[in-house]
């Protein structure tokens, strides 16, 4: 019988964010969530309202150099507003955005590679031309911009489409151009808003590789996505926002281990017996398998023993929920 048990360290419910008084104007850099950090991006206590709607009510985010961070949240949580606030596209009501320990400047922003959620491309420009143009706006000389445009067009799989108009490309290929535009000037910080939306598996793989390469080169990369299985595979660290506030931040393993629930899955050798663990909630399962959600404080060994007594088993797994379930727990709470 195969048994998989992934034990939590200690069950901790959602970490309550500290109460903050709303302030107008930028605040001094403080942190009750993060240790002081002097490299990479740090976002502290962002507030932004649009009329009566409070889009951001205290968002914190940290993306050190050489780290890939998933920035997650339900629709309307404030992810895009946070990103636009970092880029200076939105005037923030309160909070601080710092880079390498100092307030982010206009010069710092020129070194950001940004992929907006909606395609931000000149449809009437040619692929190579567009990539090179952004490179020159970012400060590259003509020769370097042309060379990098060629390199990146090749890297994203559009080498043969360099002379085609962007409007002639499919949505997925336009997304690739968008990525090349974000990378042509070798940014130190990448902000990607829903970069995987609309991509086929090949393109997803390409984009994932590119992001990993940038991280290896020491760039800070933060991306948002609703594809949590992808985030779980790609990002070691995530920050979850909901209702305009940061709800949780940490490694994926850490967040999973902090869940108040555990998943118990039993594969039976014979017919499924009428057994369920105490305080457990049955889940849908394929034939011959039982799935339950049990409290994290449960005694795993006792549960397995009880199940064995109910009927012959071929496999048991006991582990924290995946990132998607953790996300739902936090958001619903």
């Amino acid at each position: 019988m195969k048994t998989i048990v992934r034990e939590p360290v200690q069950p901790i419910a959602t970490e309550e964010p500290p109460q903050r008084r709303r302030q107008l104007g930028p605040r001094p850099m403080t942190s009750s969530r993060f240790k002081p950090m002097t490299n990479g991006l740090r976002v502290d206590g962002l507030h932004k309202s649009f009329g009566d709607i409070a889009a951001l009510r205290g968002v914190d985010l940290e993306v050190p150099r050489g780290r890939l961070v998933g920035f997650l949240g339900p629709n309307g949580a404030g992810k895009t507003t946070t990103m636009r606030g970092i880029l200076g596209l939105v005037a923030l009501d309160a909070g601080a955005v710092t880079w390498d320990g100092r307030t982010m400047s206009e010069e710092d922003r020129r070194h950001i590679g940004y992929m907006p959620q909606e395609r931000g491309l000149y449809l009437g420009m040619k692929v190579h031309e567009h990539i090179a143009y952004i490179g020159r706006l970012a400060g590259l000389d003509r020769e370097t911009a042309d060379r990098r445009a060629n390199d990146w067009a090749d890297r994203v799989g559009l080498a043969e489409r360099g002379n085609d108009l962007i409007q002639e490309l499919s949505t997925g290929n336009q997304q690739r151009v968008q990525l090349a535009v974000a990378l042509v000037h070798e940014p130190k910080l990448m902000i990607l808003d829903e970069p995987f939306a609309g991509l086929d598996p090949v393109a997803v793989s390409m984009l994932s590789d590119v992001m990993a390469e940038q991280v290896e080169k020491g760039a800070s990369v933060v991306f948002s996505s609703h594809q949590l299985d992808l985030v779980q595979d790609l990002a070691e660290h995530v920050t979850i926002v909901a209702g305009g506030e940061t709800q949780a931040t940490g490694t994926v393993a850490d967040l999973r281990s902090r869940s108040v629930n555990r998943r118990l899955e039993i594969q039976w050798a014979g017919p499924v017996p009428a057994w369920s663990p105490p305080d457990g909630e049955a889940q849908d399962a394929p034939p011959g398998v039982s799935r339950f959600v049990v409290p994290a404080a449960s005694d795993a060994a006792a549960l397995i023993a009880q199940a064995s007594a109910a009927g012959p088993l071929t496999a048991v797994s006991y582990e924290p929920p995946d990132l998607a379930e953790v996300f739902l727990e936090l958001v619903r709470s």
Partner: protein, 396 residues
């Protein structure tokens, strides 16, 4: 960076089918016009065709009229003898005939006296009457001939360029048409470019690398340069075709105000490109453009109409002088008043100075509004809000 933006605008706009088609049509018209004119060499010297309806006139009278019309009018007669008056009047109002010569003698017109035709017919009839009266008075044919010999009146012109005035007027009108159409065409291209950047959200990527005012300046200058290039191509083609076919002998007097036309058109391009860019920043979608574009046509069309009136009428009226100094209308009025030689040098300097100042001020105001409205999406920004933004208010 202004240069990068300007180059992008020039490259992408000049590549569009619409731009190439329009430029092709203009160049073709500029070249074909003089060629057609050369193929019909008399077309520039045709006399005015006039048809006189005759209710009652004898051969002698007709011959007399034809004699005086020779070299002035291409005159023919139509016989309306015995035709009911209502039908004759209808022929006049329908334009079949230009005037009716009835018994009396009486000249019947449609609405008003045409003095060019009247002068020829009056002179012919007067000559004939003198001949008849002379004979009645018993004068000999020689005496009558002496009486009828016309007085030779010498003419002299104070303006030594008078012979070329028709050409000057023509060139001034051409300049006026270009000063009207080129800013409208390229102004709308500028506006479309701004709205495109907002609607495709590419502006969010651009603003990470470039300031809004730099973007605005590059756009305005790039499309102004493209407009100037189109102007050079069209006018160059026209001039070459004209000189090649000798369809027109361009007098030296024309060249004295051609630089003014060029500077005025370029100034008009700068002013209206900036204005259209400002308007484009107030909306987020191409469909909303019509809500904001109407006001800009008031000064440009008003300026054109006033300049056209000054070209054929009084170029020194108070209105003409005022519009020469207003930056939104001076690109059209200034060349006309220079062509008419109805403007002092200090007025020219003042007009150009105010135009330059107007461009700078407009870029400053537009830049301030642009900064705030560029990222605004959704409903359009109203004019009063735009004015508040130009004074530094926040968009919310």
């Amino acid at each position: 960076m202004v240069r990068e933006v300007a180059e992008r605008e020039i490259r992408t706009r000049s590549r569009t089918k619409a731009f190439r088609v329009i430029t092709g049509i203009l160049v073709a018209a500029a070249i074909i016009g003089p060629i057609v004119s050369a193929l019909w060499p008399d077309s520039g010297h045709d006399l005015r065709r006039v048809t006189v309806g005759l209710v009652h006139a004898d051969e002698t009278t007709q011959q007399q009229i034809l004699t005086f019309a020779e070299g002035n009018l291409d005159l023919t007669f139509q016989d309306y003898t015995g035709v009911p008056p209502a039908e004759v009047d209808r022929a006049l109002t329908d334009g079949d005939i230009d005037v009716v010569l009835d018994t009396g003698p009486t000249l019947v017109w449609d609405r008003e006296t045409d003095f060019e035709i009247a002068g020829v017919i009056y002179t012919a009839l007067q000559q004939q009457e003198v001949l008849v009266r002379g004979r009645v008075l018993g004068l000999g044919e020689g005496d009558i001939a002496q009486l009828l010999t016309p007085l030779q009146v010498e003419e002299r012109f104070a303006d030594e360029l008078h012979e070329s005035y028709g050409v000057v007027e023509g060139v001034a009108f051409l300049g006026l048409m270009l000063a009207l159409n080129i800013p409208i065409l390229f102004g709308q291209l500028t506006m479309m470019s701004v709205v495109e950047e907002k609607s495709t959200r590419v502006i969010e990527v651009l603003l990470g690398h470039i300031r809004p005012r730099t973007l605005l300046l590059g756009k305005v200058l790039g499309l102004a340069a493209l407009g100037a290039a189109q102007l050079v191509v069209v006018v160059g083609g026209l001039t070459a075709a004209m000189l090649l076919t000798s369809a027109l002998d361009i007098p030296a007097s024309v060249w004295r105000f051609v630089p003014i036309i060029v500077v005025s058109i370029l100034g008009g391009l700068a002013v209206y490109n900036t204005l259209f860019a400002l308007l484009g920043s107030l909306v987020s979608r191409q469909e909303d453009v019509s809500q904001v574009i109407v006001p800009v046509f008031i000064p440009i069309l008003g300026g054109f109409l006033a300049a056209n009136a000054a070209l054929v009428g009084n170029a020194e009226s108070a209105l003409a002088k005022a519009l020469t100094l207003f930056p939104l209308t001076s690109p059209m009025m200034l060349p006309v008043r220079v062509a008419r030689d109805a403007i002092a040098p200090w007025e020219i300097a003042l007009s150009l100075g105010l135009l330059a100042l107007g461009v700078l001020l407009l870029i400053r105001v537009a830049g301030r509004v642009y900064e705030f409205t560029l990222l605004h999406t959704g409903s359009r920004v109203g004019w009063s809000q735009a004015l508040r933004l130009s004074r530094g208010a926040a968009l919310d």
